[in-house]
């Protein structure tokens, strides 16, 4: 595959440089070049909202930095957790004196680096709490939900947490809202083609032509089954079924929907999927309040899509409408 890169070992550095140049009205680079900060952060009297993760998922994670969203984001190597120091520096940049909540995904490296960053922050007297996203239905059975990975549901977690923090809520209130948002999220990924880390040079997993992998993870973690590629209608029905069977929502429940491409799937195909996704969700008696479609959380040039459904309540629903200013329209 042909790509726009300079040095395969400097992909992240070059990405960050271009990103900061494009969006200097919204973000700034911290002293640590692996930390992106909302332009005017920290905000005195507001709970700081931080995330971080491996690169290669753009616009996640950096693209969600901005007003009423994330105050600071730690940037890792491609598909690899940021360092403890970067998480710590992000925490410092976001700290407006009211404590900081770190909202991140359930991966071994992130868990360790955030834990170490919290130790460093504690020494500085910064109060830090965390919420760990685990919305990927196929990564573990329901009784082991704590083992599930975090995927595109993280965007809802950031949006709800960021909006709650913007209301002037306390650290505990922001944490509780972000926790509820991710508890109310279920996601599924379907992969049609693999992706390649430039420094490695070949795909690190294969999806045979004519097949698809249902339940694939954000780094190509294997799904629950590999099967013959079906029509978009059938795939969408399967995705909705997997998500909602796990969700078990009462009839009449209101939901927000996110359909994201994994990097190399054209937007029009996401709309084709959504045609059936919308009908299937509605047929189950659920009310879709808002739908987001686009490349919101990618995996380099993986071919495929994810579906995330978040159940709303009277606390979460109004937060959907809190205005944000980041590089992505939310």
């Amino acid at each position: 595959m042909q790509r726009f890169i300079n040095d395969p070992n400097l992909v992240v550095e070059d990405t960050v440089k271009g990103f900061v140049k494009a969006h200097s009205d919204i973000v700034r680079l911290a002293e640590n070049p692996r930390v992106i900060v909302a332009k005017d952060a920290p905000f005195a009297g507001k709970v700081g909202v931080v995330t971080g993760g491996g690169s290669g998922h753009e616009p996640a994670f950096i693209g969600y930095t901005g007003k009423n969203m994330l105050d600071a984001v730690a940037v890792g190597e491609l598909f690899s957790s940021p360092t403890a120091k970067s998480f710590y520096d992000a925490i410092r940049e976001a700290n407006g004196g009211k404590g900081v909540v770190v909202l991140y995904g359930n991966y071994a490296g992130d868990n360790m680096n955030v834990k170490m960053a919290m130790k460093l922050a504690a020494k500085e007297g910064i109060e830090v709490v965390t919420v760990v996203a685990n919305d990927d239905v196929c990564s573990a059975p329901p009784e082991e939900r704590e083992k599930r990975r975090g995927v595109a549901g993280e965007i809802f977690m950031w949006k709800m947490g960021g909006a709650k923090a913007a209301t002037g809520a306390s650290l505990e209130e922001v944490r509780a809202t972000a926790q509820k948002a991710i508890d109310n999220c279920r996601s599924i990924g379907v992969g049609l083609g693999p992706c390649t880390l430039p420094a490695v040079g070949h795909p690190n997993f294969q999806i045979e032509p004519g097949t698809m992998e249902v339940g694939i993870g954000h780094h190509g973690e294997p799904g629950v089954r590999v099967e013959k590629l079906k029509t978009a209608d059938e795939v969408a029905k399967d995705m909705v079924k997997i998500v909602l069977d796990d969700h078990n929502l009462p009839e009449g429940a209101e939901v927000a929907v996110l359909v994201s491409g994994l990097g190399a799937t054209p937007l029009n195909e996401l709309y084709i999927l959504n045609d059936t996704i919308e009908s299937e969700i509605s047929a189950r008696g659920l009310k879709i309040v808002k739908t987001w479609i686009g490349n919101y959380f990618t995996s380099l040039e993986m071919v495929g899509a994810t579906l995330t459904v978040m159940a709303l309540d009277e606390d979460l629903k109004p937060l959907l409408d809190v205005e944000t200013r980041c590089t992505i329209i939310l």
């Binding site: 190597e77 403890a84 071994a108 170490m116 490695v200």
Partner: protein, 213 residues
């Protein structure tokens, strides 16, 4: 009683870095079978960076290990950055200020490194991680020392057990980290972390053995 000199043994870390950089492609290749294939790349980057900072400084072993641990922790990230970072900084702290390192100090150093790793990670023996190399290696060293064997013989036992531990991961199902998502499909492949840990322990212990007086 056999000992080796802290002040003149910093070069052990340089040769450790050389071995890791040499094995860049190999470590990434085995990682690519069940992980995402960047283990060699990230390890070589961290160890290479540490070697750059240490070259020509003739630093003592304690300082060299501290530099390596700090670089891994602050520059590498992922899972291996914090795990090896904490291991090497714990190694460094234990031998800091010790002039002549004997078997008891060496054992204490290994245990401190293991405790550091266990304070941030939750892997146990059998989970198909670097713990499968490290724990049996320490046990073999302690056992040999308790049986009255020389420091040199105990180091040899350590290296053999580390390599056996590494090889044991072929028949293990990954229980933790990215490979764990593969379940049974992770069988039949070496764990990349267990493999790099065996390289590290061999280089460290062979280096110590060659310097015993």
């Amino acid at each position: 009683m056999q000992t080796f000199d802290n002040a003149s043994s910093g070069a052990i870390v340089l040769s450790m870095a050389e071995r890791i950089v040499e094995n860049r492609a190999y470590l990434s290749e085995i990682d690519g079978k069940i992980g995402d294939g960047d283990h060699g790349v990230n390890m070589a980057k961290g160890f290479g960076m540490a070697a750059e900072r240490l070259k020509g400084k003739d630093a003592p072993l304690a300082e060299s290990l501290d530099t390596l641990g700090t670089v891994l922790m602050t520059e590498i990230g992922g899972s291996m950055g914090p795990l090896y970072g904490v291991m090497f900084t714990e190694f460094a702290e234990t031998i800091e200020g010790v002039e002549a390192i004997d078997a008891a100090t060496y054992s204490k150093m290994l245990h401190a490194g293991l405790a550091g790793i266990q304070s941030i990670g939750s892997a146990k023996v059998g989970d198909k991680t670097l713990i499968d190399t490290l724990v049996p290696a320490i046990k073999a060293f302690d056992k040999a020392a308790a049986e009255g064997k020389s420091f040199s013989d105990a180091l040899e036992a350590l290296v053999a057990a580390a390599e056996a531990g590494r090889d044991s991961t072929i028949n293990l199902v990954a229980k933790i980290g990215r490979a764990s998502r593969l379940g049974e499909r992770s069988l039949g492949v070496l764990d990349a972390g267990a493999t790099s840990c065996a390289i590290i322990l061999k280089e460290l212990s062979d280096g110590a053995r060659a310097r015993l007086t």
